[in-house]
Amino acid sequence: MTDYFSLLNILPAFDIDFAALETAYFQQQRLWHPDRFTGKPVAEKQAAMQRSVDINQGYNTLKNPLTRAQYLLQLSGIAVGTDKDSIKPAQPLLIEVMEWREQVEEGTELDKLDSLLKTIQSKTIDNLSASYNNNALEMMAQEALKLSYVIKTLDEIRQRKLKLK
């Protein structure tokens, strides 16, 4: 399959022009959305549907910084995550994450942790950009792992706050 960047006519990069991505997304869906194929032969309908699915998938992957970073790494042959051949989080990161988790479970100073994590989140996104631009892919993988933990913990804080309410 064509990669998502080609599918959506944008250059592979971490820093993408969101407006250009969106324009390309709408442009492609205008051509391939199932609504454009209601009166067409079944085979065309099916092929277009698959294309429309890929465009949606591509748009979703690229618009989100975390999935975009993971996808760029994947294109470079680097897997990040829980699979056995993938890059694992470094020890200091794990320790940091465990501290956040403990704090969430205790439910103390959640607002403070929330704003701390949001600062880390935007800094991590900056680091992802810098490491990709410098072709420092190992470092980028660690930053991507960090971002995924930050996002997960932010979500847990929200859930926890709802429960405490």
Partner: protein, 619 residues
């Protein structure tokens, strides 16, 4: 708007296309509208409005009435009148426990879906809805002066798979081909956005008789992109009526009395009239069984406040999912009759910080959007609706937990592959349980069905790799396919729907209803199969004539031979043969179709500058 259209020579839309309409199949009222090049118009009834009460009356003599006459029976408390059936679509008896006792007719459990007792028999909610659709189809045919065979039907965005399937079945029973199911708030956005030229992020607050939907959309240059949607399929104006009815009973000292089912219909109708009166007046008097009691606006507001507050929680959820705040929302469009209630207007205004937009008819805007879409789908259009799935899809895993496969608010169509393996040596089958909803535990979500995989090659435990693909199409409906990866063996999937009716049941109902109308079902289905076959051949031949350069000689011969085969079987009267040969034709033409599309796009891109493809409204 001068927009780019890609039609090839000989492939312009069929001039003799049959008429397509848009239908808002609502809980309390339904509306049918007809689209044209410049918009859409609702079909008016003899009362000078577009609303058809969604009530069906089954007489003991077999006579069926729909709309106002049926509602008269209902208001008189006569047995056999069925209202608000939409709440029961795709529902089993366990799902509607909270409604039982509030329904003015008797309900019985049934396979897949509940049965309703009316006119001395039991009917399914699908059949009742089909009667409403038949009525609307007929009204549109009278207005148009020609046959109506296709429709875009709207459903609440929050309708689950079973309710969507039930709606499609009802259309089939009514003799309507569903071009597309579209979500009610999306339809409203289409009609509103085109009419007002709205651009930016808008919210659709759709409070109907029985359902509440809230969608955030980005509208831009003819694109209607749903950013998030949330809702409640058991929340609406009906609840306001029930609250008033319960209040009346308490006030009059009937609080603990169990009412006969007929009286519920009478009382609820009185309650509804009171609600309508309170949109203008500060108080209204209700007379019931020689007593009368007065309800003030303040007391009414107190009664319904919990329901209104619930809708605002839903709004909050949708904003959170879209990562937006109320400040990002340019306007809130009020859709559905219940948005006429004063408290609703006030509370929505407070929540969003500006008064909601009341400049469209909230009863008609959904049907108008559906009709615009029906016209676009059959005649071509430059509008694009990009919708999402309302509820996450997941699978049952160990310990009764749910693992999400597709998250809610993912744009559709969407397809996700998941790999499974066997846990026993020589295991040749497995059952996959599919659920819809957001909760962690299986029992808190809606079961869509159990898919049984059979014919897995006999391999040691953990070696087989079965790839299961879940696809949600543009109607928001799920299909599943599977393939064993190591051997490439295609798996058989047997679907046991948890709710909804199996196809055989629909065929049977179709048969019964046709017999009732003294029509020959086999004949009808055969005619349909022939028409479909002829259409398939016509479309393929136009495509081949339009792109001869990409057709390989051998391929062309194979396709032409198969076209001849299809033409031959069409002469016969075996529907299954016709369907099978048409499928074979589609298979032979698949590669050609794919290549043709690639070249169409290449030509289109070559022939015009990119900035022209980026469709903008410069006019």
């Amino acid at each position: 708007m001068n927009l780019l259209q890609i039609h090839e020579p000989g492939e312009t839309p069929l001039p003799h296309a049959r008429a397509a309409v848009g239908i808002d199949l609502g809980t309390t009222y339904s509306v049918v509208a007809i689209g044209s090049g410049d918009g859409a118009e609702v079909v008016q009834n003899i009362h000078g409005n577009a609303l058809v009460p969604s009530v069906v009356y089954y007489g003991l003599d077999g006579k069926i009435e729909v709309g106002y006459p049926a509602r008269l029976h209902y208001e008189r408390g006569e047995k056999g009148a069925i209202a608000s059936v939409k709440r029961l679509m795709g529902r089993g008896i366990a799902d509607i426990k909270s409604l039982l006792g509030n329904l003015p007719y008797d309900v019985a459990p049934g396979e897949g879906m509940v049965r309703l007792k009316a006119g001395g028999k039991e009917v399914t909610p699908v059949e009742v809805s089909a009667e409403i659709l038949k009525y609307l189809k007929h009204s549109a045919e009278q207005a148009l002066g020609r046959e109506v065979t296709q429709a875009v039907i709207t459903v609440p965005a929050y309708f689950d798979d079973a309710a969507r399937a039930a709606t499609k079945d009802a259309a089939k029973l009514a003799g309507l081909e569903v071009l597309r199911l579209i979500n009610e708030p999306t339809a409203a956005a289409l009609a509103y956005g085109l009419d007002k030229g709205a651009e930016g992020v808008y919210a659709m607050y759709d409070l109907g008789g029985g359902t509440f939907d809230f969608s955030l959309l980005k509208m831009e240059k003819g694109v209607f992109q749903v950013l998030s949607t949330a809702g409640d399929t058991a929340l609406g104006g009906d609840d306001f009526d029930q609250a008033i009815a319960a209040w009346v009973l308490t006030e009059l000292g009937f609080g603990d009395t169990v009412l006969p089912t007929q009286d519920i219909g009478v009382l609820v109708s009185l309650a509804r009239n009171t609600k309508h009166a309170l949109t203008d007046a500060d108080s209204a008097t209700i007379s019931y069984k020689d007593h009368s009691v007065t309800l003030t606006r303040e007391d009414f507001d107190d009664l319904i406040y919990p329901y209104v507050a619930k809708t605002l929680e839903v709004c909050e959820q949708a904003l959170l999912d879209a990562k937006l705040s109320t400040l990002d929302v340019k306007g809130v469009v009020m859709v559905g009759g219940s948005t006429r209630v004063k408290l609703v207007i006030e509370e929505v205004g407070n929540f969003f910080g500006h008064p909601p937009l009341n400049d469209v008819n909230p009863d008609e805007v959904v049907a108008l959007g559906a009709a615009i879409q029906a016209h676009g789908l059959t005649q071509g259009s430059d509008n694009l609706l990009l919708d999402v799935i309302p509820l996450s899809l997941g699978l049952e895993t160990m310990g009764g937990l749910v693992e999400k496969v597709i998250m809610r608010n993912t744009p559709i169509p969407v397809s996700v592959a998941q790999e499974f393996t066997t846990y026993k040596d020589g295991q040749d089958g497995m059952i996959i349980h599919i659920l819809q909803g957001e909760r962690e535990m299986v029992e808190h979500n809606r079961s869509l069905g159990r898919f049984e995989l059979t014919g897995i090659p006999l391999l040691p435990a953990g070696i087989a790799r079965i790839k299961v693909i879940f696809t949600v199409d543009a109607d928001g409906m799920l299909t599943v396919s599977a393939e064993e990866q190591t051997t490439g063996v295609q798996q058989n999937i047997h679907v046991k729907p948890s709710y909804g009716l199996p196809p055989e049941a629909i065929e049977k109902m179709l048969l019964e209803s046709m017999q009732h109308a003294r029509e020959d079902i086999t004949q009808r289905l055969l005619v349909e199969a022939r028409v479909d076959a002829e259409r398939a051949v016509f479309e393929l031949e136009s495509a081949m004539a339009g792109s001869p350069e990409i057709l390989e000689e051998g391929e062309k011969n194979r396709i032409q031979r198969q076209v001849q085969v299809v033409r031959n079987v069409v002469q016969g009267d075996n529907r299954d043969y016709i369907d099978a040969e048409v499928q074979e034709l589609a298979r032979l033409a698949q590669s050609f179709a794919e290549r043709r599309m690639d070249s169409t796009i290449a030509t289109a891109l070559k022939g015009s500058h990119i900035d022209k493809l980026d469709v903008k409204n410069h006019a």
